[in-house]
Symmetry: C2
Subunit: 441 residues, 2 copies
């Protein structure tokens, strides 16, 4: 039963629908006209960036109310979106305990375990009984806990001793002590661990949350699996965009202005374009051959695209396998060996098709002249060489980048293709010189 | 304190390290020699495929023990990996309740909500008090619950009435009824919803689990966020591999044999190769122009790679934005308009660089002859056209595929590049004919 909306008011669903195309003050107006019982959920569902922008458009009293709605980790994320002066202002709105928690979280980078964690976890002492722990947590629940699937057992110095799942806590006899029921083989992460590694550990552990410890083994917070879903999506998006040959956008598609879009894509395009200019130099080097046999030039796009396609397959595979931890740097020799065999087989398949294609066209239109068999052989042999080279280069490049301390995701399909194009031309024309010298050339 | 290992025994960590390179019976042997207290965790951490393979190598008594360790949803996944005869055999090992649950789960596809869900959720009746619910759940916990973060309130017909989070349950006065404390604005998914959509809904809702309902509104199970992490990783991997121009591997890199690898990559390669043959036809069509001005041929790789690179950027961006729900089909016009402007700007940038490059080379080596300005203009204008065309095609193609009911991820970088290559050649040589006709041509 929602109350009858005022004349201009949109429902939460309607507002969400038009949100991307509204200006800042239209957003603030629409938000303030929302039915009060929907506004909380609407605000919490916004991205951190949108929350921050909206907040700065609202009157002071409203601002205080909405900031206080956020749990400390989300409040910290929001504060990080703001200018220095707005930050102080917004932190002042918080109640003293949350303010202390937010300030502690702000000391971390956004993309490390500490920046991702919530400081509000369920903690008990080892000597409590199960009944005592349940009663204690019931008293604590409303005020001090964000999520409770695990109860962490800490000693007096806040060092983590063990963990009890809620299921275990519920299922244990009430008079057992926490020390007796807790699990002591623990998966933990250090506070400065990179979020991508945290997400791999959490995904592999099949846990719902992982405790974050400082250098002295004191527990600072928990990273929960729902935060990790966002990290995994975000990292996958970055990797996919890099694989497409551009910088990661770091924002939804429609939120990126044209200028930023051109910059994010243009930088790599220009780098690739300048690299690709080497193909013009290589082609110019073989100008005489082309002039004597224009026929050769007609196969150039086919040759270089075959190298590019196989190279982009190989690099994509290896980059993803490295991101998932399936392939590590020390596996490089196994990777290259596998890709050598795969590349050879793929090259033979394409070479066969290319060879047959020339024979068929020749029998139909005689377009390749008296030396058509040599031409077909040149094309076929070049394809084997180029595909093999593309596959091995494409698979090795992410490993080389990683060895150099760079992100393997940068060896994108277009990057590999550009690299393989120049060498592909050299392979092709060299084989042509050898096989066709004295006849066509 | 692990017991002293027997002579050949590996520790769990050691076994995990060498696992990928072991044969099936070596795996079974290593597994059976594990210290008993590590074997459970080791088995549960294996992929479903590895669990199934290992199981079939173990003696019957061991098999029963390990199958019974699995919760019903994991048992159902494992059963789906087996041959028809092994299936019946393994299902017979289960206790009667689990067997019924597994059989119910087997009715679903692996990649829909029903195939992902666990049937073991915490359920209470609306008239129970908070104290009664807690006491009831404590009795149920050991046997019948896999995970408990939400308590679902069902009526006598198993229809979902509301949900109470554990935090809420703990924080509520003990004498309130479940009906009073439950949340009735519910996020639910139908049993046959695709897992990718389920993961988007769950990620957006910031819930830890989402209830799965059948057509009559009866609750069948929950999909939890930890299952979703795997789905998100899996779907991202599929999308990335398709973006690289191949079929999704559906298995870790080193687990795919060479034959399967060649097949998964070869099919697309052959399709692209045959498509790319059109470039040879197009080039042959312009043979006379090339013979008169070999110079023109030297720019061909640069031209087509520029179209390919910009096309692959645009398609990658749009595919990912569609997968994340940022771009929907009905946004097509906004996308194409944006990409038109972006493509035009990117084209102008590359054209400027190309134009300057020719002027510089000319002033150094006079390699472009007396008509170098016209050549530079041809290259620059062609770049604008090709980049614009590549960008618009690359961004529109995923939308077109989606409109046709196909997976947009299939408009991979190599696919777009191939499409743009042929048209790029036509654009380039047509502009050359117009600008250079009467001078060079």
């Amino acid at each position: 039963m929602t109350p009858a909306p005022s004349e201009n008011a949109l429902s939460a669903d309607e507002l969400q629908d038009v949100w991307p195309i509204l200006s800042r003050d239209e957003r603030a107006e629409g938000f303030q006209l929302l039915p009060p019982e929907d506004a909380d959920d609407f605000f919490l569902a916004l991205s951190t960036r949108d929350q921050a922008e909206l907040l700065m458009e609202l009157p002071e009293a409203a601002r205080r109310r909405w900031v206080r709605l956020l749990p400390p980790d989300d409040a910290a994320d929001l504060v990080q979106e703001l200018d220095a002066e707005d930050r102080v202002h917004v932190i002042d709105f918080l109640d003293p305990i949350t303010r202390r928690e937010v300030s502690a979280l702000l000391a971390y980078e956004e993309d490390e375990a500490g920046g991702l964690m919530s400081p509000r976890f369920a903690r008990v002492r080892p000597e409590m009984t199960v009944d005592e722990a349940i009663a204690y947590l019931r008293r604590q629940a409303r005020r001090r806990l964000e999520t409770i699937y695990y109860v962490y057992v800490l000693d007096a110095e806040q060092r983590l001793q063990g963990v009890v799942s809620f299921r275990e806590l519920f299922a244990s006899p009430g008079d057992r002590s926490m020390r007796e029921v807790m699990e002591t083989e623990l998966v933990t992460v250090p506070e400065h661990m990179d979020q991508e590694t945290v997400s791999l550990i959490l995904a592999e552990s099949d846990l719902l949350a992982v405790p974050v410890l400082d250098g002295q083994g004191r527990m600072k917070g928990i990273v929960t699996v729902d935060d990790i879903v966002d990290v995994v999506q975000e990292e996958a998006t970055e990797d996919i965009q890099k694989a497409g040959g551009m910088e990661a956008l770091d924002a939804p598609y429609f939120d990126v202005g044209i200028a930023a879009m051109v910059r994010k894509r243009g930088v790599w395009l220009v780098v690739l374009f300048i690299g690709e200019m080497l193909t013009a130099t290589a082609m110019a080097h073989f100008q005489d051959e082309i002039a004597r046999a224009v026929l050769l030039a007609t196969f150039v796009p086919l040759m270089i695209s075959s190298g590019g396609n196989t190279g982009s397959q190989a690099s994509t595979l290896v980059i993803r396998a490295m991101a998932l931890g399936e392939v590590r740097l020390r596996d490089w020799w196994r990777v290259v060996r596998r890709e050598f065999v795969t590349g050879l087989l793929l090259g033979l398949i394409l070479a066969t098709i290319g060879f047959i294609r020339i024979l068929v066209w020749q029998s139909v239109g005689h377009m390749y002249g008296p030396h058509y068999l040599l031409v077909a052989l040149t094309v076929a042999l070049s394809l084997v060489g180029i595909v093999l080279w593309g596959t091995v280069t494409g698979s090795a490049l992410p490993l080389v980048l990683s060895r150099l301390g760079l992100d393997p995701a940068n060896s994108s399909a277009p990057f590999v293709a550009t690299l393989v194009d120049v060498t592909g031309l050299i392979i092709y024309f060299t084989i042509a010189q050898i096989l066709l010298g004295g006849t066509l050339l």
